[in-house]
Symmetry: C2
Subunit: 320 residues, 2 copies
């Protein structure tokens, strides 16, 4: 049982100090690695690790082909600006091969987990001779996995998996007692820029969590385009999470006066404090009109756009 | 080429008189049959036919298992009230058998067309010895079929199909020069009650047009429930068309604290004058909240509800 540190009890500066000491004492003179996705969780872990270990932490950005437009380069350059070197690893082929033919959401998540921890990280750990992996698991990830809602890719011990046995390295999780709202406060205390502290959550399986049915490079490109448009058009909307989903179902549309049995994109935009419960944001109709108009114009094959109007529960925020 | 009678040029009383004379002169002393769905098109044709032929027109309601809740009984009793006898034909098994295993929308439409005209109507014509079928095809049906947007079930001549050869009877189409707005005016002139004159359009393939993927009795029951809730909750909304669609795609939800890979219902509500172009109705957020809340509570297995925000074109109003 993990002891939660509530947002009221959290002293971000103290927390940073404690966790830096903890990482130092566990890793000792050894080496550690970590994966940075650019999200607030892995960004905080990167900062804590570098404060504790300096050059003895090696930080990687895994380009799995499933990230948003320009995201890999943006993350590397943002951290270069604050003095942290991040190495970009091109693993696109490995991930797309692992996802081929899979339609079940939990199998998708499992394929990504295995590719990430066993194939890609396994190799990096062996090559670097690191014995530790620093990772940004938060309490909500553990809760959802244990409750059987979603298998979060970064949860092992609570499922009875020993990462040392399964993958050959030990996993350190400095954020596992707090939730997203706490992480954001710690991010500020670490000196991370505002764009990182308040960055929207983005799921572990990245854009593959937003493709219903089989994931292919072509479908990822379509949902990447729809995601870019959605984030742009909703940039001024103050919401917890904004996302675009590519459906597998086809619906009838009209293109150039003829029938086009085309694609559908679903938009979701959520108001939430800590992701446990959420409500659809009440977007102005003009905003939805403009967003839908751009998507059917700019995303090839899309004839229909919907907006999700269900709360969580019974919905979840991500569709997969 | 059909000569359109525009809404400005239409004199409804004159139109009724002309069409009654036309039907009388074509059918002569013979017998005719027609199918009444309860929609404004087939209701007007039923009235014109009875004015022209009296008892020599036999009117059927085909219960295909794809109609809305209580619709068959409601239509029969409404027409009984205005003195027109309608015979209810139970053809549920024939339609569900014909739809088994079909996922392509055009194949679905074709299966329904063949079951309706060849199997069910073929038998009724043989038994009644009628030589004519009166039918409510309107100009928009012809346009969409000829343009290759949607194959409407009631369009033959324009596709080079001779119904007499294909099915053994001649088809008479008194409404083929006008559109929905014209039909509503003629409906008033025929003395039909207001509820029929302004009845929402409902597609030929009925609820099977609102199930993405294979149509089964179980899925029809779910979309029938969602449709009833949608029509109830939006009863006070002044819109051209209101519909609920059952998707084939599944999305992750939460039920009783556990993962439920569940169903999604899409709501569409359209503002339109003549169905050629349409805009999504700007529903108040409270209305959408209430509608989504009832659907996830009352329709078994549904965890997610969306609202369509795309205009026609590039969408169409019905999804199939």
């Amino acid at each position: 049982m993990i002891e939660e540190i509530s947002i009221e009890d959290l002293n971000p500066e103290e927390f940073v100090k404690e966790k830096v000491d903890e990482i130092s004492s566990i890793v000792g003179d050894g080496l550690s690695i970590n994966a940075l996705s650019g999200g607030v969780d892995s960004s905080v872990v990167t900062m804590l690790g570098h404060k504790a270990l300096g050059d003895r932490l090696k930080t990687y950005f895994i380009e799995n082909g499933l990230m948003r437009r320009d995201e890999p380069q943006q993350v590397v350059s943002l951290f270069a600006d604050i003095g942290v070197h991040v190495e970009l690893i091109d693993a696109r082929e490995q991930f797309f091969n692992a996802l081929k033919g899979i339609t079940d959401p939990e199998e998708k998540r499992e394929a990504i987990t295995q590719t990430f921890y066993r194939d890609v990280f396994g190799r990096l750990v062996r090559e670097s001779e690191a014995k530790f992996l620093l990772q940004g698991t938060i309490l909500t990830d553990v809760d959802e996995t244990v409750a059987g809602i979603k298998r979060q890719h970064n949860v092992f011990a609570q499922l009875g998996i020993d990462p040392e046995e399964a993958f050959g390295y030990q996993i350190i999780e400095p954020l596992v007692q707090i939730r997203k709202d706490g992480v954001r406060k710690v991010a500020e205390a670490c000196g991370l820029p505002e764009s990182v502290c308040n960055r929207m959550p983005f799921p572990g399986p990245a854009l593959s969590a937003r493709v219903i049915g089989e994931v292919t490079p072509e479908k990822i490109e379509l949902v990447r385009e729809a995601t870019a448009i959605t984030e742009e058009e909703l940039a001024d909307v103050d919401a917890f999470l904004k996302l675009a989903i590519l459906h597998d179902d086809r619906v009838t549309g009209i293109r150039d006066g003829r029938r086009d049995f085309g694609l559908q994109i679903e938009i979701r935009c959520w108001d939430s404090v800590d992701a446990r419960i959420a409500e659809p944001t009440r977007l102005p109709p003009e905003t939805l009109d403009r967003l839908a108009g751009r998507i059917v114009t700019d995303v090839p094959g899309v004839v229909s756009v919907t907006y999700n109007v269900t709360p969580k529960p019974p919905s979840t925020m991500e569709p997969i």
